[in-house]
């Protein structure tokens, strides 16, 4: 075992982690721990753009952007956070440009901007050009630019280190902690993939920037490595997860594969058509049509397929039509996604429409934070020294449905904020003592998994999980389908206790780490489904066919899910009789749901029409 001491430890080296590192490493001794080489992070797969009301090409302002974000999130957005997001967007884009990001340019040399779903002028009048972009590889450019600047600033990385535990000075899973009592995050335990060695990182401040959990689904745009690690670690240590029922399905995944085709394809003029060639979005969103927010477009597509108007031999997808666009325009603005169609489906987008279907894309929910990025341990109290930013976090700027281009924005705005806040905090804070053996849980977990001589295959359990999530918790959900998913997950949790790995070695044991990651996936799928069962309304990305309407009277609240010992109380903070009072018992623990108010400042909830 090796131990390290840093003022700030950042877990994850995607956009949020590296943006935070660029801030904190200027002020405090900082380490970034990442299970991948930084440039492998999934920020690099983001395509279309990053929203900011620069007004470089047409009239725009941050207030319109705030409104669009709030409305796009079906009013479950915390409006103070959305306002920060939209205001600080402008400086965030300029920061990146100054760091060297090669944005596409207007003829006069300014940062060019294009249209994207749900971004409008003057509160929904028409689509607005707000997305700053670099072809259809904006995420790639952001990730590269941030990494380049980390090289410039000599940021210290621990690459291919898996963080497997969070250490706090109070056991939040069992202790009753009074309101206002201080709880501190004191360190993390990591596993070095190359050597199999355990490392303990003691820190004054820790930032979780571990990304999403798309691999709970089978059809997903997410990388194999997006297994919800940070969310699951926080949750297992007794911290709540917020709004986990809201998962975004991106409308245009390559059919059957789930590989992302950017919304920019529609921003640049692409049209969705059903088997009859009809531009069906005209029926669902008469004003902005194909540029409606993702939840609406995904649902419309799934509905076309369900009603028999799907294309292809099995009528199980719709078509993204770019054939009316000039090939030169496609090459200039959408080179990568058209290459994906060619490489993976053998389709030439110049002349043939591309088969597409919704793909699991983004977790709106996550580890709850305030606007400084500080992690909440309940509705109001923070864990001192613990921060989260990016997809792992829930601020909540995305509410129940994130707008396209707002995630690249989120990582930059809240990555920067959390980096600054963590560094600032570390200047006045001192190190807290670690427990006698901080590695005991991780070592036991790894040894058990490694030493179980023979058992179920990890891949079989993971496949069964992903199948049931796709079948029962995707675009359309019902109480019955969600309960079926939950029954499957219970069974899979049991099977997981009997899972074993074949690679028993120390060096670069990816077999072992895949098994550990499956444990994260199971926990995240479980809490997602429990939260979805409880929310008996339809809002944003969460659509219940048995409750097709939004119910502001009862559900205009954030879900807060806590994992607790069986003997603990059944009431969590924000308990609302009949609505946020769900308790689900499992073997050895239970999931208790509470709630947290939605912060509304200037916008009253309205019906959401486009």
């Amino acid at each position: 075992m090796q131990t390290h001491q840093y003022d700030v430890v950042i877990v994850g080296a995607g956009g949020a982690g590296m943006r935070a590192a660029l801030e904190s490493s200027k002020e405090a001794r900082t380490a970034v721990i990442s299970k991948l080489y930084p440039t492998r992070s999934h920020t690099g797969a983001a395509q279309g753009g990053m929203a900011a009301a620069l007004a470089n090409v047409e009239d725009d302002n941050w207030e319109w952007h705030t409104f669009d974000t709030v409305k796009g999130g079906d009013y479950l957005v915390d409006q103070d956070a959305a306002e920060i997001l939209a205001k600080e967007a402008i400086e965030s884009v300029l920061d990146l440009e100054r760091m060297g990001l090669p944005f596409n340019r207007t003829p006069e040399g300014k940062i060019d901007q294009r249209r994207f779903g749900g971004h409008t002028r003057d509160h929904g009048q028409s689509a607005v050009r707000r997305a700053c972009y670099a072809a259809d590889r904006t995420g790639h450019m952001i990730l590269q630019t941030l990494y380049q600047n980390c090289v410039k600033q000599d940021v210290e990385f621990f690459n291919e280190f898996y963080v497997l535990d969070l250490i706090t000075d109070h056991d939040l899973t069992t202790e009753e902690i009074a309101d206002g009592e201080e709880v501190n995050a004191t360190g993390v335990v990591a596993y070095d993939l190359a050597t199999g060695e355990i490392h303990v990182f003691q820190a004054k401040a820790i930032i979780f920037a571990t990304g999403g959990a798309g691999k709970i689904f089978k059809t997903t745009s997410n990388a194999h490595t997006l297994t919800g690690d940070g969310m699951a670690l926080a949750y297992r240590r007794g911290l709540p997860l917020e709004d986990m029922e809201f998962f975004q399905f991106h409308p245009t995944g390559l059919a059957g594969l789930g590989i992302l085709l950017s919304e920019a394809a529609r921003g640049e003029g692409g049209i969705l058509r059903n088997s009859e060639g009809e531009r069906f979005m005209e029926r669902y969103a008469p004003t902005i049509k194909d540029l409606a927010p993702r939840d609406i477009v995904a649902r419309s597509m799934a509905n076309e397929v369900r009603e028999g108007r799907g294309a292809g031999p099995n009528k199980d997808y719709v078509l993204l039509d770019l054939t009316h666009l000039e090939p030169a325009h496609i090459d200039a603005k959408l080179p990568d996604i058209t290459e994906f169609a060619r490489t993976y489906l053998g389709i030439e987008p110049y002349t043939e429409p591309v088969p597409v279907y919704p793909t699991a894309h983004y977790a709106m929910g996550g580890v709850p934070t305030n606007i400084q990025g500080e992690v909440l341990r309940d509705g109001v109290n923070v864990v001192k020294g613990l921060y989260a930013a990016g997809e792992v976090a829930c601020v909540s700027v995305h509410g129940s449905n994130r707008l396209g281009t707002n995630s690249l924005l989120d990582i930059n705005v809240f990555g920067k904020r959390s980096g600054r806040a963590a560094a600032e905090y570390s200047k006045t804070a001192s190190f807290h003592d670690l427990p006698e053996d901080p590695t005991v849980r991780v070592v036991a977990q790894l040894d058990e998994m490694r030493n179980r001589p023979d058992g179920e295959r990890v891949a079989d359990i993971r496949k069964a999980l992903q199948d049931t999530m796709d079948l029962n918790a995707q675009v359309f959900r019902t109480g019955d389908s969600l309960n079926a998913a939950l029954a499957d997950i219970r069974e899979l949790q049991k099977r997981y206790r009997n899972a074993s790995v074949q690679d028993k070695g120390k060096l670069f044991n990816t077999d072992l780490l895949e098994a550990i990651e499956l444990g994260f996936l199971l926990d995240i799928a479980e809490v997602t489904v429990v939260a979805a069962i409880n929310r008996k309304e339809s809002r944003g990305g969460h659509y219940r066919e048995d409750y097709p309407n939004r119910d502001d009277a009862h559900y205009m609240l954030h879900t807060m899910a806590y994992r607790r010992p069986t003997a603990a109380s059944d009431e969590a903070e924000g308990h609302v009789e009949g609505y946020f009072d769900h308790v689900e018992e499992f073997d050895g623990y239970k999931v208790v749901l509470g709630s947290k108010p939605v912060i509304q400042t200037r916008y009253e909830p309205m019906e959401r029409k486009y």
């Binding site: 690099g44 340019r105 300014k110 070695g505």
Partner: protein, 253 residues
């Protein structure tokens, strides 16, 4: 064992993807077990749209969990899974089985010129060290502008090609000069230097050119075009290296 395409099977039902068996001949190495690397054959069932990565996953998930390789995004943008497939550097997630003659065993080896850690995993540190050496970041002087720096679309286009690099090392590890001389910066580092040397906003060009004028720099390039062929992002690597050479001759530094 020879793979057979099941083309002889009756016309598949509508929407059914024809499947076939394929053999992967994989270079295995695990220093915990043996100092020697060996070849091992695995035969798996594959579908028409499956990639090398899908076949590797089938082997790892269903047959031999100890098979070790890196991967993440699985669609050619993260750069984790460069490997040598039938003697050519490619990304496993971007190479369809049907495109690499699945009727014969497909050989899969780690990329060359970097120390092998285990099976298909190599130590990437020397590669990233070369990258860091060419100062891969925008260098400017004076005060930061209050808004963005302007750049014409024409100036932006001059380095567009080299911004696509995903640092997968397919080019560098395909270069015969790099194989024999590990000190050589290699194509990827030069590509990333090019990305800044030709960026109109950058002021560090001469420093980078000086670094690359070193005896382990651009002049080692023998213009074999292996790198251009290997690049999964379609970057014209050799051309970029030529442009850097030309800049060295024409720019005073």
């Amino acid at each position: 064992m020879t793979a057979t395409l099941e083309a002889a099977a009756p016309t598949p039902a509508a929407g059914e993807i024809p499947s076939f068996t394929v053999t992967l001949r994989i270079r295995r190495f695990n220093p915990e077990v043996s100092e020697e690397a060996t070849w091992q054959d695995f035969t798996v069932e594959a579908h028409g749209t499956d990639r090398i990565l899908d076949a590797l996953h089938k082997i790892k998930w269903d047959e031999d969990g100890s098979l070790t390789f890196r991967r993440s995004c699985a669609h050619g943008v993260c750069g984790s899974d460069a490997m040598r497939i039938n003697g050519r550097n490619r990304l496993a997630c971007k190479t369809l089985l049907k495109d690499v003659n699945p009727e014969k065993p497909i050989t899969v080896e780690p990329i060359k010129g970097l120390p092998v850690v285990k099976d298909l995993v190599v130590d990437m540190e020397p590669f990233f060290a070369s990258y860091r050496e060419i100062m891969p970041f925008l260098i400017t002087s004076g005060n930061e502008p209050s808004k963005e720096r302007y750049q014409s679309p024409e100036d932006r286009a001059k380095f567009d090609d080299t911004t696509k690099c995903i640092l997968c090392a397919a080019c560098t590890s395909s270069c015969p000069v790099f194989w024999t001389d590990g000190q050589y910066f290699g194509p990827a580092a030069i590509v990333n230097a090019h990305r800044f040397i030709f960026d109109s906003r950058d002021e560090g060009g001469s420093q980078r050119l000086e670094i690359l004028n070193d005896k382990e720099g651009v002049w080692r390039c023998r213009t074999t075009f292996n790198c251009t062929e290997a690049c999964p992002r379609g970057i014209e690597v050799t051309k970029a290296i030529q442009e850097v050479k030309r800049a060295m001759i024409t720019r005073a530094f």
